[in-house]
Symmetry: C2
Subunit: 324 residues, 2 copies
């Protein structure tokens, strides 16, 4: 049965660059292998940024090289700018994602560029891609699309206009990110619908956070209006998804459980996915990871959307570092 | 602006009867006062069960008497059977709620009665109400409606049939409860829709749990198909809503935040609601309480659905016992 939703695992990038420790390369490769073995078919494996700024990502080219060997996997990397895109293309990624702030205040504070300058950057990246690597997919992720901790409300018109500008600049997909955990389901439905009305199939992934507990409700809302790609992070890595001030990514395990329980195949095996936590924890000893389905286990009588039954309803234990 | 959703606070019953400690009566009254002051207009204040079985509820008649003095408050109590209903009516409750298991296995294990016997019990309670207190509202809450930890899947036909039987027995409202935290949004939409197709306006509250992180997503799903009354518990009292084996009620604070952020007035003031946690904690020192909105605070630029702005985006601190 074909997967009806694509879970895009961002832990090896978003998660790892948000924690203090650096995961050794061998552990990264083992973790990505385990995520792939669990059925994940898109993984953001790292970001192409100067190693002096983000030592956790110094080995990104090596990680990309390994990830490319995994059958059927779309290997994605974040790039902050054209220079990063050049390195990513040279390393052989399948997909580039570039964050573009919907909030001008956030854009200036974060990358010291205006939104218009970032649209230009995307245009140059697309030109590079067209020339050197026409098969590489270019995604722009609109961060702070649902609100900004600096400027507060981000006008929806700004988000829609920026999405149109990015599509015109040649980005294949434009996703919406709730960077600050401010989204609510009504807003998610409204904004994705408005963006889709303008740019149609260029509408990309929902990257939603769980800062105020609304992560899965917001994913459901996005699904309801046609979103089929969802970013999430194994174990909510990169900040406690249940606490403030943290990255608070939606937990992959809980997201997969929700869709599978709803009868929407994700292609992901929850038992193997929880098993992959062992590889994550081996590479980041003591780092807390989260997730409610891994703790509660599968429901009695659970069947996957494709009709398979799990081997066990109790999921593998994840002792060290797990929330209790 | 009229409240568009009714939050039915179950903490003083569901929460308090699930913890080991007994909250002193004076603290219960102060807590209920604080919940009422925050704008809650329906509170399940206790259950009419033998005090030797549930010492936490020995003072229920006194609590009801006090709660009746609060303007505009619907005072609800749980009753397990006719005897309890007699006591509740005598104490002066406005609304009785009786749990009826949708799972035969759960019904036998829990109350040693079949579902048919429970329908009979409701019929007798309705007769009692009609005779002695025609203004009292009788609700039946279908527990294990979304799955049972004993029998696993609960056939949806069973739930619908039982809802119809309870409506025919004279119950005013029939709610659906995810006692075991097994519901998913697709199921919530399907089952509430099926029940409403059969019993129309007798369709009652959604009582949903957060055992696997889906609590708010399930509330959203229920709202989408017309549910307007939602049970929840302040601070998720009565079990960790983020862990297995626990009661895992949806956290009132997070639920109110979701609806208000969506532009749906609840009538509840989040700052005063978080302030009410102080009264809860005073009566149950050391008992952990939960909630992500209380920790994260309101979003920058937050406005209530009725257009009011909060005094502060940072919510009152709840030090002792709060999750960190």
């Amino acid at each position: 049965m074909q997967a009806q939703v694509l879970i895009s695992e961002v832990g090896p990038r978003d998660g790892l660059q948000s924690v203090k420790a650096t995961m050794p390369t061998a552990n990264k490769l083992a973790w990505i292998d385990a995520l792939h073995a669990a059925g994940l078919r898109e993984i953001e494996v790292g970001s192409f940024v100067p190693a002096r700024l983000l030592p956790q990502m110094a080995d990104v080219a090596e990680v990309v090289r390994h990830a490319r060997s995994l059958r059927g996997l779309t290997v994605m990397a974040l790039v902050p700018n054209l220079r990063g895109a050049q390195a990513a293309v040279a390393a052989g990624v399948h997909k580039i994602t570039l964050p573009v702030s919907a909030s001008e205040a956030h854009s200036l504070a974060n990358v010291r560029k205006t939104r218009a300058q970032m649209v230009d950057e995307v245009r140059q990246i697309v030109a590079l891609r067209n020339e050197l690597a026409p098969h590489v997919h270019v995604e722009a992720g609109l961060s702070t699309a649902f609100g900004c901790t600096l400027q507060g409300v981000v006008p929806e018109d700004d988000v829609v206009r920026l999405a149109v500008a990015l599509a015109e600049a040649g980005a294949d997909d434009i996703g919406l990110s709730d960077t600050t955990g401010m989204a609510n389901p009504a807003q998610v439905r409204r904004l994705f619908s408005r963006v889709r009305a303008e740019i149609g199939a260029h509408t990309g992934a929902a990257h939603l956070h769980n800062t105020r507990g609304l992560g899965l409700a917001n994913c459901l809302a996005a699904y309801d209006v046609g979103v089929r790609t969802f970013d999430s992070s194994q174990g909510g890595l990169g900040g406690c998804p249940y606490a403030p001030g943290a990255s608070g990514n939606v937990v992959t395990e809980d997201l997969v459980f929700m869709f599978e329980a709803m009868g929407l195949p994700t292609g992901v095996d929850l038992e193997k996915l929880v098993h992959a936590r062992t590889a994550l924890q081996a590479g980041l000893p003591g780092e807390p990871i989260y997730g409610m389905t891994p703790e509660a286990g599968l429901t009695k009588g659970f069947v996957y959307a494709d009709g398979r039954s799990p081997a066990h309803e109790r999921l593998p234990a994840t002792a060290a570092g797990a929330r209790t």
